[in-house]
């Protein structure tokens, strides 16, 4: 597995490289760095790749990065985000997220960089497709001593997908119901044989705000999230909000 770190001379590059290398170490991946200079764009002058050799390419950045993912052994891409609100994630990130097929590590300037990975939060809406993040987390990051918080935010709506397992809407005897639900939720969405610690956490509220709050209060170093790759009307609101407010790097995994 190879994680491609796409440096771009943004203010997030330093946190990006640190976080990406930490993630690669935790997952046992190789890390490579690349810089794609677009026509008229500036030369890279200040990126700190922490000893990594940076391969310089020229061309349309989204297309070049997509080509690398498609044609080579690149399995995940790390990108830096500009800080600030609104359409600030940058055109490269936005283009890659719109048609992404490999996990994206997104690091925003100002967030707590990933330096050690002891606890990660995986938000799960309780549907099979959204549990791709969990499979990825289990497959790449589950390890003894590392805690994976399976965060289910109850919003009042229920996923329509077959096989979904949201928080129960009926609770006959809560002393049995909740522990049974947590056990089943964990069994259904995680079959990790590696001995990692899984903790199911259920909260009620606005998904993005609750994820940020839990990640912050739990001291999570990484948020791993499934996403279908659409910012169309009515879609992607949670991801957008997390890109702006998450306290730690995000690993966005294509939904199953």
């Amino acid at each position: 597995m190879t994680l491609l770190i796409a440096v771009a001379d943004t203010e997030a590059d330093r946190e990006l490289v640190v976080s990406a290398r930490c993630l690669a170490n935790a997952a046992g991946w190789d890390a490579r760095a690349v810089h794609v200079r677009e026509a008229g764009g500036p030369e890279l002058d200040s990126a700190d790749a922490a000893g990594l050799e940076i391969v310089d390419l020229e061309g349309d950045a989204p297309a070049e990065l997509a080509r690398l993912v498609g044609n080579s052994d690149v399995d995940a891409v790390a990108l830096g985000l500009r800080s600030g609100a609104g359409p600030s994630i940058g055109h490269v990130t936005e283009a890659l997220m719109a048609g992404f097929s490999a996990p994206l590590l997104l690091v925003r300037h100002g967030m707590r960089p990933l330096t050690t990975l002891r606890r990660l939060v995986v938000p799960l809406e309780g549907s099979p497709s959204a549990s791709a993040a969990m499979r990825h987390a289990d497959g790449a990051l589950c390890a003894r001593g590392r805690e994976i918080v399976m965060l289910h935010v109850v919003t009042g709506s229920t996923p329509d997908e077959r096989g979904s397992f949201p928080a129960p809407r009926i609770v006959d005897q809560e002393h049995y119901e909740w522990s049974a639900w947590q056990d089943e939720f964990c069994m259904r969405f995680s079959q990790c044989p590696e001995g990692g610690r899984h903790r199911v956490c259920m909260r009620v509220g606005d998904p993005a705000g609750t994820i940020v709050k839990e990640a912050r209060e739990d001291g999570a170093e990484l948020i791993v999230l499934s996403w279908k790759g659409s910012f169309a009307e009515g879609h992607g609101a949670v991801v957008k909000k997390l890109l702006e407010t998450a306290p730690c790097p995000l690993l966005i995994v294509p939904a199953g």
Partner: protein, 1065 residues
Amino acid sequence: MLSREDTSKALAREFAVLCFSWNGTVVADRQADATAVRSCAERLCALGVDIAIVSGANVATVDGQLRARPDVEGRLFLFLSSGSEVYVVGPNGPRLLERRRATEAEEAQLTAAAEALRDRLAAAGLDVEIDCGRPNRRGVDLFPEGPDPPKRQTAELQERVNARLARAGLQGVGEVVDLSRALAREAGLAHPRITSNIKHVEIGLTDRSDSMRYVLRSLIRDRGRRPQDLIVLGDEFGPISPSEGSDYLALIPELGRSTFVSVGAEPNGVTPRVLRVGGGPKELLRILNDQLARREEVALAGFPKPSPHSAWRFDVKGFDPFREREVETWLTVANGESGTRGALEEGSAVSTPATFVAGVFGDGTDEPRFRQPVPAPDWTGLRLRAWGSVVNLSNGELLDHERVLDMRHGVVYRYWRQRLRNGHTLRVRTARFASLADRQILAIRAEATPEDAPGRIVWAGAVGVTHAGGPTKETEFEKLDEPGFIARTRGRNGGGHVLAVTTRAAPGSPVVRHVEQARDVIGGRLEPGDPATVDRLAALVSARTKVPSASSARRALARAEELGFDELLRRHRAAWEARWRDADLVVDGDAGDQEALRFSIYHMISTAHPTKDTVSVGARGLGGMSYFLHVFWDTEIFVLPFFIYSHPETARTLLAYRYRNLDGAREKARHMGHHGALYPWESADKGVETTPPYGLGPDGEMVPILSGLMEHHISADVAWGVWEYWKATADDAFMASMGVEIMLETARFWASRSSLDADGRYHIRLVVGPDEYHEGVDDNAYTNVLARWNIGKAVEALGWLEHVDSGYAAELRHRLDLDDTEIEQWMGVMWNLEDGFDPATNLFEQFAGFYQMDDVPIEKLRPRPMAADLMLGREVTLRAKVVKQADVVMLCHILSDEYGDDVARANYDYYEPITCHGSSLSPGIHAAVAARLGDVPLAVEDFKMAAAIDLADNMGNAARGLHMATMGGLWQAAVMGFAGLQRRHEALLIDPHLPPTWKRVRVPLQFRGARAEFELRRRRAGDEVGITVERAALRVILDGVERELRPGKHRLRRADGQPWQEVTR
């Protein structure tokens, strides 16, 4: 006369009903061994054949000699005492169905006729004796000094009797018969039945023709058969002396198309209607064996198949790892004794195979410690290797996968095709069941067929432990002397199981056995298309306080092996068919509702044991560990009504479980400082409180559990179950022996639990009602009204007992130390107990202060179902007018014969919008009440909400067990709501409100000795009900007027807004 060939041809088919005489046909005399006939009869009953034995003898004689015990009641009938008595025989022996009782006038007429005959014969110089010992008849012994010889000596007897009569100037027995008939008419008997066995002449009110008419009515017509489906076997159809033989009376004209066969000597020939084969009891046995063989041939042809009718199949196509655990629960096979989840035989990463046994508990090890079921060793493991590879869903490509629960027969089938990584394709089929005919027996047949290449196919039966830890202390394995293994599981401070299991080649399969370590290994090298088929048979024996001896399981396994898979399956299927006959709700027009109802009924029957009073129905059934098989009020209020009206024996057993645990309830009341009996909120094996004191909440925080301390309405719920059962079944024996004591002890608790306050009223403070969002409330209406009802009915029941059995009533009062002063105190409580009812509005206040709580905008309680305490927050719901589940509405439902539609309507309208259905117990009951009130659209919405609780494919609620109360609620909504069949005192109200999609619904019900089948439909702005009444008259209420429907067919119609009218067709 037919040739032997023609006779053989006439018998060469299956008959659905076999009727035969006893003496002379089945047995040569009363000392003859009937073992072979017994075996045949039991096996035929298991195959769904009805058997009617007709005799002039009494039940002690016939049953004492036959001693047949079919696995289910409803197939074997005894028509005895010459048409005066009908018994049905089940696993527990004969049960009287009907007895003709002579009136006092008839008794006097019979005696007068017999005495007149005696006097006439005495005048002719003949001494005779009158026998008054048989019901509805008088026998006149024409030869008192002579013996009562067996039938083979009839000719000799006839000679001696005729000689004696001739000496008195009489022309043989025939003249005495004619004289008897004339004298009987003179005595006032309009239709005397005169019979003779030569030694005796009998003057009676009934004879064999009455038995045959009962057979025609109940076994032919009522079961949808034709007369040609009946064969009648006897030995005396032709004349014996001048009078007709004893079987002649069976030849009633209505059975003109039935087959009559004589196995007797028939010295004077037979009428052309009768086939004469001779041969006596041996020939009868041959004919029975022939009937057995014909069915066995049919059943042995090929791998068993599920019902072809989609309405009986619950299909799960494909394989979805996310849904697998709820699929396993859905496909549980259970028989009231044990339940086995429908996990894949070969296992997978997401499989959770488990077998749970009712009533066997041990101490859990985690805090808080409480009683938990001890899972049995896993008997379902069957590993498969083909072409050297392990076969499972991960090896290669899944081509087809389908599992089918055949609800009609309680069998789960599996069809699977897999292309392995080595490129070869294998086809696999399995069929499994938990025998309903022999509840210790479990069985799987598994077949693997190579499709495209020869290769070695090997099955390996595995014995494993599931859910080790918890209450399971240890498991031991040992080999059987014969191929197979024993596994024992012991619970901590509790019961245990012993499993004997073996795997063997199925008959005809070209595979051989190798026993290796802990597995039965069977296989062989097969050509494409050749199946490797094995039968895995298991016997599971359990005990509540110890691990049973291995020998008990060995014996049960030997029994199963002797019968073999096919015979076990046949008996099991027959047992299920018998249960469905009185339980099936047929809905035409809405396949989804039909599936939900049959699925519910299947699992309710599967979960309850009809005879074992040490067990009851756990809240999540026998298919999952959730709720630890603990018994709640769900049983009495939600599930029990289904059994009361479909299988009263099971209902009685469920209540006997409460009676058995009455001491535990007394102990709980005493422990809490009260008198009487306070049933535990959660009950396990000892009848004591098993509710854990605390548990984990939704955030993982520790929360105290108050239901064990405060949810006291369960005591009245149990009393309600007792009363409902008694009123619906008229089972006075149960009421006298168990019911009254439960009623009195629960009433005593309520009197003790209530406190008299300064306002002069009694109050019940600090309780939790059905709406568990509000804990520690005062004067919950559901609790208080039921408490008052409980006291009133207890006093009424005691009065009844004093009337019917004053001696036992006095003994019971003495044992309970119950004097009149205490009863007066109870009555004081009853009359002055606060109930929150306002006659001006007809509303019950749910509890004191409910009206002062905060309003919540209705839109915040949508969509339903909703866990409002989660969504709004516990603190909010505590202070708000938000109702978790039917509470006051439930009260109006279960006391519908106390509170009329006006009260129900007012409370339903008030509480329905603020009920969020945050409990699985809620929507089914709301559906029943909405339908009763004619609000059909809302009833349909609630009905579908209830159906989705276990069956929705995006909720996963069933993963750890099914919701038994929901299933009972669905049945109640369908029967009491939509079909509108509700008990009112000792009659059934008929007031249907069918959903628009239901073109027709068929409802079988048992009520106070009657069996009735209702067929309800909507027709052109009106309702139509067809009712077939059997066994006894049925009292119904139509338009507020009670009337009696006699056995037979009835048809009622009403135009909308108009009264019912009975129509002729």
